[in-house]
Symmetry: C2
Subunit: 98 residues, 2 copies
């Protein structure tokens, strides 16, 4: 059964800043290129009921594809070099269709 | 621009309980029948990084359709009669594609 992996987050950069655009574009380019990642989307979060401002979402065919993504050097490097310094707060959710 | 309205939640009922199934089925039936609601989905949330266990998601064509849903008597009644008593905690997010 396919798994939708999502993370909702808020950047340290001001909204509209060039560094925001760069983070979103780099995240899309780097993460969507990792084998096994499908339906990669970047969205704005606009509900005033959350302080988080963006979402990355992607679909994996199964747990093995998800695990391979987590361990992939491009994912690890993105987390260490960009996520750790540019993301102020975040929440992960993984969804299975019912 | 279309809006994806989502809510991730945890019920007061034990997982697998008949009342869980009834809540999910009634939510799908009642909320997806409200005019303007598109692409209604019910999903399980399975990441151990969140205590929330389910998600309802739907798409509105615009802000007016979203506002009409919020004010619709069937939505108001579901929130007052079911959500208020059967949901232990929840978080809303609304997404716009980038």
């Amino acid at each position: 059964m396919s798994i939708q992996h999502t993370v909702v987050f808020r950047l340290v950069h001001p909204h509209g800043d060039q560094r925001e655009n760069a983070f979103l574009a780099d995240g899309r380019r780097i993460l969507s290129s990792i084998p096994g990642v499908g339906d990669f989307t970047v969205q704005r979060q606009v509900s005033p009921k959350s302080a988080l401002t963006h979402q990355f979402a992607m679909v994996f065919a199964d747990d093995a594809a998800y695990a391979a993504y987590n361990a992939h050097p491009d994912h690890v490097a993105f987390v260490e070099e960009r996520w750790a310094t540019e993301v102020a707060e975040f929440q992960e959710y993984d969804f299975l269709a019912l």
